[in-house]
Amino acid sequence: MTVSVQTDAAGGEALRPHAEHAFADELKALAAADDRPRPARWKLSPWAVSTYLLGGTLPDGTLITPKYVGPRRLVEVAVTTLATDRALLLLGVPGTAKTWVSEHLAAAVSGDSTLLVQGTAGTPEEAVRYGWNYAQLLAQGPSREALVPSPVMRAMAEGMTARVEELTRIPADVQDALITILSEKTLPVPELGQEVQAVRGFNLVATANDRDRGVNELSSALRRRFNTVVLPLPATPEAEVDIVSRRVAQIGRSLDLPPAPDGMTEIRRVVTVFRELRDGITTDGRTKLKSPSGTLSTAEAISVVTGGLALAAHFGDGVLRPGDVAAGIRGAVVRDPTADRVVWQEYVETVVRERDGWKDFYRACREAAE
């Protein structure tokens, strides 16, 4: 059962401070410079919130660092949604900064990103509605004091932004509890004959994985309560190569893998293969491709390269070679044994075989397929 525990991690004690603490200066400068109308109980105007996320320079010279690098359009739609009475659903494959964006949105809008429900298969209804302090419940019977509000209930009462992580992992019956909250903006407490009504300023940001849709598909009733924003994967190959190589270096250090020289060629290759199959088109834009059923997220590209590095370090000569990543790529691509295998074979035979400088990789792919 989720009970919001207040910590005073405002200082530098916490391993990872909340957004509203880490960027307190920027938020303060923005609030000072912000002269646009603010919706009720918002700490900043919608314009200032999108500036906080996308970065910029204020009239007084304060530099706002970009928190999210991506299309401005998406951020604007997300912020605007919070100002209407629909909730916001952030979709995206793993590694597209959904949680990051939702935390910063809550921090900028309400100044508090801690009203959080972490969605799991075991999330109970109490996490969304309310629970009871059983000692008090037994001693005094149902009373307002014995009631333990959920983060969502607190957000409603205080006009704040609540967050739900991994919405699609939450069991369907618990998801349903959100429907009334989002459409009626009220949470009845029948035990007390009372209700908690949402005050202006309340809204909810949920995140979910859109490729493997989680265990519990959203019901259309719940879906209708959300405006959906799909966060895209890194826009350019360069950006993705950069992310992958940086993460691989970090993980490699923690696994005590020796750094591989010339690993960039293979990282670039892995990213190229992933992007091409994901987008269903080759980088030169000339050939269309079938897309496999797997996600092929940046996170998976990172694990393929890390696996390849381990192979090279322990069984090879320490140099990351095509053979070290081929099997990993194949494993990431072929999730469905029949359909995906055709996709992969077609890709190998029509794209990899023809490409200059990919002969070694082609051979490695053929071997991996045997």
Partner: protein, 771 residues
């Protein structure tokens, strides 16, 4: 600073209405201005030769989008279009004038000159100048997108709440343009000076005729030039010595999709459907737009509730406020639709873009409009090819090796592509060679109408057929459709359309997950390659696509052949035959390294896999045997496995059907290879009595398809019996199992001349005929 505001109802001057071509806000403003000022005559930017056609604009059968088309008489390919939609200010002005009985004229450089000046096709007197005036104004106002600035400042301003003085916006705009032209010069486009001189001269003439009570609708950029003080002599001097071609003009139907193209007015607007909506919606454009979108999505079985529509309107409004725009633009509307109605996905959004934002609207032109250049081009070709349009039906035999006949064939095929069915292909007399073609010709007066309709695609038969083929390729729904189109393109000699068609084909092939579709498409492609050969067209691209398709078939066919029922297996066998022949053809016509070997690998795999239906396994074995890729003993081993007692009798019968059934020569194989016949015989006699009744129909179907002679021989062979001793002797002695012992030298020699003739070993190379 400015000499005088151009658009104001300045006393003693014509009313100058500067617009953006195809701007719905401009159109509304023009209408309001005309209604309030009620001028005595209207001048509209456009080629003056079109004056005679202006009355047609009021015709009841005239429905925009239409385009004024000017083309050079002796070169229909050189043409320019002035497209007009409902929401074009020019169209609004013309319609207003004809409704109020006010004279209306075009003012601009005559098309006779502009066509002579312009080199590129369909270039027309475009707006493509070195400097972008709107871009500069937008940049000054802090916008990075000039279109958006114009929409915010001009188009949207005018849609929401009419200004007190309907002419005021035009005055402000004229002032801005004047300032721009003072600061940045008159732009880099060489034709502009001439065009504006021309407009001035025509304006002067109109003022002489109608007095000063005149309204001029032209691109905003030209407004300052019309008020410039120049002398008649100076303007005349500019026009002196201009090249000239004989031109003709007519109205042609247009489409929204083509409005997006740069031509004539140089509009190149991206969202004609949205503009049309803005112009047509009486009020609350955003609400009406969202309702339209919801209706479209509901038609495609997506649930969109009224609550969604409300929410989308609110989101769009709030977004516009966040972005600091005065009204909801297409960007906001699209973002809201994506987030609220499409669950963040771009897939349904593409449908909205296609059907609503661009829109599928086809204009209409009355029959009384002059003939389109396409008709003239056809007339000319009919004369040069001596192929007269005749009302009675007649047959036409063409020999494609002759130049004239090849050109005739191409013309007929091209006409068929653009929907003018003058000739229908007929079965040739006896000859099946690819260099002969038979047609049944019949010219129906109805075809004149078809040609007029096809005028939208281009001004020459070649151009129209190319454009049509390209459009069809992009919109074709099935792989087989594109393959057929590729074939037609080759027949019609549309080399320019081929890359687009090939691209569409490659894309469809790549995305089509059904190996059956791919296999169906391959034979037609391989056939097309042969046509291309006969007609000497470049088929490299086609060859590449065909090889790519074959590769995909090789990858996709084996998984698609497992776990099929009897009917599906029969279908798969048919496909396999088609692919086999096609790959054989490909190997001889294009560079396809290793393709036959890979295909053989696929057949090997199929022949040995138990999960594959018997009929397919049998067929694969047979194809390998015929190609000499399978030794006789190996064939016998596979057959033995398939017919062994462990195999279900029905499955074994299917194997036999696949191996020796259907295609010709199946029976002869059994006649000549007694070892195989022996295996069949042994299996058949070993089938248990209770399953024999199930197997009988299958076996009967296989054997009843044979020719009577083959059946009799087989019967005789079986009656004589393939004794074990005989079989053993064959195995040991005869090099070719199944044939009689020893060699009859005399009879063998008698066959040799025929074999040599068949193989073409004696005949000179040039007499060898292909096909």
């Amino acid at each position: 600073m400015t000499p005088r505001a151009g658009g104001a109802t300045a006393p003693g001057g014509p009313l100058l209405l500067g617009v953006r071509h195809h701007g719905p806000g401009s159109a509304r403003a023009v209408l309001a201005a005309l209604e309030s000022v009620r001028p005595g005559a209207v001048l509209v930017e456009g080629p003056p030769e079109g004056d005679a056609l202006l009355p047609l604009a009021a015709h009841s059968r005239m429905r925009p989008p239409v385009a004024l088309l000017a083309h050079a008489v002796d070169d229909p390919g050189r043409a320019a279009f002035w497209p007009m939609a409902d929401f074009s200010p020019e169209w609004v002005a013309i319609r207003w004038a004809s409704a109020h009985g006010v004279p209306v004229r075009f003012v601009d450089l005559p098309a006779a000159h502009s066509l002579a000046l312009t080199e590129q096709r369909e270039g027309g007197p475009g707006e493509g100048r070195g400097m972008d005036p709107i871009g500069i104004l937008a940049g000054t106002a802090g916008y990075d997108d000039p279109e958006r600035w114009w929409e915010d400042v001009v188009e949207h301003r005018a849609t929401g709440g009419q200004p007190a003085d309907p002419c005021a916006p035009f005055a402000a705009l004229a002032e801005a343009m004047t300032a721009l032209r003072e600061a940045y010069g008159d732009g880099g486009h060489p034709q502009d000076a001439v065009r504006e001189a021309c407009m001035r001269l025509q304006l002067r003439a109109a003022r002489k005729e109608f007095g000063d009570d005149i309204a001029v609708v032209c691109g905003a950029w030209h407004v300052p030039a019309l008020t410039a003080r120049t002398t008649v002599a100076a303007d005349r001097a500019l026009l002196k010595g201009m090249p000239k071609v004989k031109t003709e003009l007519t109205w042609v139907p247009w489409t929204h999709r083509r409005l997006a193209r740069y031509s004539g007015y140089g509009a190149g607007i991206e969202s004609p459907g949205w503009y049309g909506h803005l112009f047509a919606a009486p009020d609350r454009p955003v609400e009406r737009w969202m309702t339209k979108v919801a209706g479209l999505l509901r038609d495609t079985d997506r649930t969109v509730s009224s609550a969604d529509v409300i929410e989308a309107v609110r989101l769009a409004g709030t977004l516009a406020a966040l972005r600091g725009r005065p009204a909801v633009g297409l960007d906001e509307a699209t973002d809201a639709v994506r987030a609220v109605m499409c669950e963040g996905s771009d897939v349904p959004l593409a449908l909205v873009r296609d059907r609503l934002v661009v829109g599928e609207i086809l204009g209409e032109v009355p029959d009384t409009a002059p003939a389109v250049p396409l008709q003239r081009d056809l007339d000319r070709q009919q004369r040069t090819l001596r192929l007269r349009p005749e009302a009675e039906k007649r047959e036409l035999e063409l020999d494609l090796r002759k130049d004239t006949d090849a050109a005739r064939s191409r013309l007929l095929h091209r006409l068929r592509l653009i929907g003018v069915h003058w000739g229908e292909p007929a079965a040739g007399r006896g000859s099946t060679g690819t260099f002969r073609e038979a047609w049944r010709l019949h010219w129906d007066p109805e075809l004149f109408v078809r040609i007029a309709e096809a005028g939208v695609w281009g001004t020459t038969v070649l151009g129209a057929a190319t454009a049509r083929a390209e459009a069809d390729a992009v919109s074709a729904s099935s792989l087989a459709g594109v393959t057929a189109l590729a074939e037609q393109c080759l027949l019609a000699g549309l080399t320019e359309a081929l890359p687009v068609v090939m691209r569409a084909l490659a894309d469809r092939a790549a995305l089509d997950a059904d190996a059956g579709h791919l296999a169906d498409a391959l034979p037609a492609l391989a056939r097309s390659l042969r046509y291309g050969d006969v007609r000497a067209t470049d088929t490299t691209a086609l060859g590449e696509v065909a090889v790519g398709l074959a590769e995909r078939v090789c990858v996709g066919l084996p998984p698609a052949c497992t776990g099929l029922d009897a009917d599906a297996a029969e279908e798969a066998r048919r496909r396999m035959d088609g692919v086999h022949i096609a790959i054989g053809l490909l190997a001889t016509t294009v560079r396809a390294e290793g393709l036959p070997e890979r295909w053989a690998g696929v057949l090997h795999k199929l022949s040995a896999r138990d999960a594959v239906s018997g009929v397919i396994r049998g067929r694969a074995t047979r194809l390998l045997l015929d190609d000499g890729r399978l030794a006789g003993s190996e064939t016998a081993r596979l057959m033995g496995l398939a017919l062994s007692p462990a195999a279900a009798p029905a499955e074994a019968a299917a194997w036999i059907e696949g191996f020796v059934g259907g295609a010709s020569g199946g029976g002869l194989l059994l006649v000549h290879d007694e070892r195989l016949l022996g295996l069949v015989d042994t299996w058949l006699t070993g089938v248990p009595a209770d399953t024999f009744a199930d197997v009988l129909p299958l076996v009967r179907r296989t054997f009843s398809a044979y020719e009577p002679g083959v059946r009799r021989t087989l019967g005789e062979l079986v009656r004589r019996g393939t004794g074990p001793g005989r079989a053993a002797r064959d195995e040991g002695v005869a090099p070719a199992p199944g044939f009689g012992e020893g060699l009859d030298e005399e009879r063998a020699d008698a066959v040799v001349p025929v074999v040599r003739l068949l193989l073409g070993l004696d005949t000179p190379a040039e007499r060898a005929v292909r096909g």
